[in-house]
């Protein structure tokens, strides 16, 4: 006799614990691969899983075995031309598994000395943003204009028919019926047994007391009546699903991308900036449910544009950074009240600015913009010396070190390290986290 069992519905990720253990053990390798991927990948598929390769020797589990040397012996199939006593020149290194017979000596051309495996998108991003934290992550509470979420809040005995909870109601009705008619049922059953017995006796010819039988029948009838009177469903059996509106802390964020598109910004610089913006965007999506992105580009004047325009259209002319900051301030006032929105800003520039403007920028920031945002990051992408804007911002940084950060980027390879630096989990946040 064989038992045939369908196991397909059993869990299929039995190995996931072991897989996680493996990933943890080779975390450093994975970290390196991820870093490389972030720098090398085209921007469009930055958030994808990744193939990680680890040198085989690093994950090798050692065992005692025979090494090369000594007198090896092996039997192979498929002889064509050999004869006993033939001497075959030893193939150059690496070529023959003859040494120890068996074993893993592969004759498949190149040995496979890389161990490759996939990590999922989730794992990839986990690794990218590992140990990073959004500074000043505050879930904004609102006064009266709270967002609400309808939540299930138990079962109540009053409500509208549309919210009737059938299962609960029927269960209550059943319990009530048992309680109310249970006693009557039991008595009825006893009586019926008695009646039956008497009837049988009567049928078998014995004389019995007719009045007693009639009395019993009458009694039985009253019990039956009592049972019948118990309603199948009563009003106080009814139960209703209860829902409440719960105020929700806002988890909306808006991200301002500010970029200089003046003539001095080349496409390459813009690409570097774009990578930075995308990393930030991905990072924000992990922390907030809803994210809006506002693109502001500027040369001498600033303009809100679409993503496409932002990254690819070219402009010429001089640079006035403050125009962008002013526009940003305006947009925040109009659409993104800081009460409701978590505001992040990332600015990328090659450092060029109209000479007098840098002071104005500092002014605009200090006069209120910096208080509106959660975190403002500035990256300067230039191989040259810093100009006035950098120095103006440096003053800001020292004054508002908790919400303003700036870094200097030379080429693509700097982006990820700089990004990590900017968002490194800080001590006090670690404690709160």
């Amino acid at each position: 006799m064989s038992y045939i069992i369908d196991r397909r519905l059993n869990g299929k990720h039995k190995s996931s614990v072991n897989r996680q253990r493996f990933l943890r053990r080779y975390r450093d390798h994975i970290r390196k691969a991820v870093e490389k991927a972030v720098n090398d990948r085209s921007i469009k598929d930055l958030d994808r899983g990744e193939t990680i390769t680890i040198p085989k020797r690093d994950i090798h589990e050692p065992v005692f075995g025979h090494g090369r040397g000594g007198v090896g012996s092996v039997v192979h199939p498929g002889n064509k031309e050999f004869n006993a006593g033939d001497k075959i020149p030893r193939p150059p290194q690496n070529g023959g598994g003859q040494g120890s017979g068996q074993g893993k000596a592969s004759d498949h051309g190149e040995g496979e000395d890389e161990f490759a495996f996939q990590i999922s998108q989730e794992e990839f991003l986990d690794c990218v943003f590992e140990d990073l934290a959004l500074p000043n992550l505050v879930r904004k509470q609102l006064g009266d204009m709270t967002e609400f979420q309808i939540k299930h809040a138990g079962i109540v005995s009053e409500g509208t028919p549309s919210k009737l909870n059938l299962v609960r109601s029927m269960r209550n009705a059943y319990a009530r019926r048992m309680v109310m008619s249970g006693d009557a049922r039991r008595r009825l059953a006893e009586l019926e047994e008695l009646i039956q017995k008497l009837e049988q006796e009567q049928a078998s010819g014995r004389t019995i007391d007719d009045t007693q039988l009639a009395l019993l029948r009458e009694k039985a009838a009253t019990y039956q009546q009592k049972i019948d009177k118990t309603p199948f469903l009563d009003t106080y059996d009814l139960r209703y699903n209860h829902h409440v509106k719960e105020p929700q802390p806002s988890s909306k964020a808006v991200m301002f991308c500010v970029m200089d598109v003046s003539g001095s910004m080349t496409q390459e610089t813009k690409n570097i900036a774009k990578r930075f913006f995308i990393l930030l965007y991905l990072f924000l999506t992990r922390n907030y449910e809803k994210i809006e992105v506002v693109f502001i580009r500027h040369h001498t004047s600033a303009k809100e544009v679409t993503e496409e325009e932002f990254f690819y259209s070219r402009e010429t002319g001089g640079t006035i950074v403050s125009s962008a900051l002013k526009l940003m301030q305006k947009i925040i006032k109009q659409r993104y009240s800081p009460d409701q929105w978590n505001i992040y800003a990332a600015q990328a520039s090659d450092g060029d600015n109209w000479d007098d403007d840098s002071r104005i920028c500092q002014q605009v920031m200090e006069d209120g913009l910096i208080d509106l945002v959660q975190y403002f990051t500035y990256i300067e992408i230039t191989p040259h010396d810093h100009q006035s804007l950098w120095y103006a911002y440096e003053k800001l940084q020292s004054a508002y070190s908790d919400r303003f950060a700036m870094r200097h980027i030379l080429d693509v390879g700097d982006i990820y390290p700089v990004f990590r630096e900017l968002f490194q989990r800080r001590l006090h946040e670690q404690l709160n986290a």
């Binding site: 196991r7 190995s15 253990r21 490759a116």
Partner: protein
Amino acid sequence: MSNSTLDTLLPQGPDWSFDSIRQYDDAIREIALEFGLDTYPNQIEIISSEQMMDAYASVGMPLGYHHWSYGKQFLEVEQNYKRGRMGLAYEIVINFSPCIAYLMEENNMMMQALVIAHACYGHNSFFKGNYLFRTWTDATAIIDYLVFAKRYVQECEEKYGIQEVEATLDSCHALMNFGVDRYKRPVPLSAQEEMARQDERERLLQQQVNDLWRTIPKAMAEVQERETDRHFPSEPQENLLYFIEKHAPLLKPWQRELVRIVRKMAQYFYPQRQTQVMNEGWASFWHYTLMNELYNRGKVTEGFILEFLQSHTNVVYQPGFDSPYYSGINPYALGFAIYSDLKRMCENPTEEDRYWFPDVVGKNWVEVLDFAMRNYKDESFILQYLSPKVMRDFRFFGLENDVLNNYIEVKEIHNETGFRELRQRLSQQYNLGYRDPNIQVQRVNINGDRSLTLRHVMDHERPLNDDTVEVLKHVRRLWGFDVRLESWSDGSLVETHHCSNNDPYGIL
């Protein structure tokens, strides 16, 4: 056997259903019984390909303790499978009573029937009949023991931390092949007893160990006695893990238990490592025989049997040594050829067979095969039954590779003068004693630095591989004191490895 099942076609078509699987299983069992195959009850489980990969990763065990190396295995299988570099095996079968066979849902009806014949009647009867399995494993207890092991490891992880537990297991795994008793019969596993005795054992073990390492001075008479008894162990010990479990001075009780668990697992797999050719050959021979019998009895169509033959041919295909697909001798092919040839010799012997196998010729083939299956392991099976015809068919040739020469010599080929030596050479290839180096515990310096000396006796002057240093670190970690490994050849010391790093992994 009811007449109604005779001459009626089993369900056709590529799709299987639970009902059709049952019908095929019934039909195959009927035939298997006629051939006298004695099996454990079968438990056929239908699983998905993902589950098959899980099963792969845990060496076919339905449950095992957690360890990163299984994760590695899983990733490797998954990667190869996804890239189409590797098909999954059609089945996995577990030596357990009832014998559990996994069937993949992707298989078509023909494959399911093949797998049932192969696993549920082939492997199953092998597990039940072969002397190695009968002696070394207890099919009724293994699952319970696995449950116990898994739980125990998990408890250890909770108490002592995942890292420490994994580190200890790493070290044990490195010595897994040296954790078996090759000659002594082990006590069968019993999860219940294991658990019941566990506490007691922990206490006793520690006491025993403490005894060995007692440093308090004793009365003179006893000291005298100790002087003579100074050589410990009195005889070399081949089971390194056993020795460590019983005598390592610094292991904590739970670590000893982990060593024991790994040792028990190694012991369980030991027969499998020694009967690959026999076991796979036996299963292949029977799926071939049983399926053909289904056809002969008109239970399956011509199309079905042709499809089967194609799969079967793939299974028992042996590429030549110069083929890009060559990766050693295919145990399915070799085993199948030997069993089939045995049957042929019983039924249609040639002159050659009469000379080589006078005991086999003309006998009842079912009995001859049954005897062969029960009483041998790969090494002796090949030595006993590999016929000149099979050697010719495989075109075997033997090579000898002496590092002192700049050539590799063809010692013998598949001809009259070479048969015996060739067979000897091939048999040796399946001898675990030849494949694994011979390393034994030689000496423990009890009164001195507590160092452990292992002795490697070189076979054919073959040195140890490059892993040796790493493995010694693992031995060092388990033993807790210096470890020395001496390689001896012909009575002279050739090489010494020494691992004295105080804390090679910074863990213990």
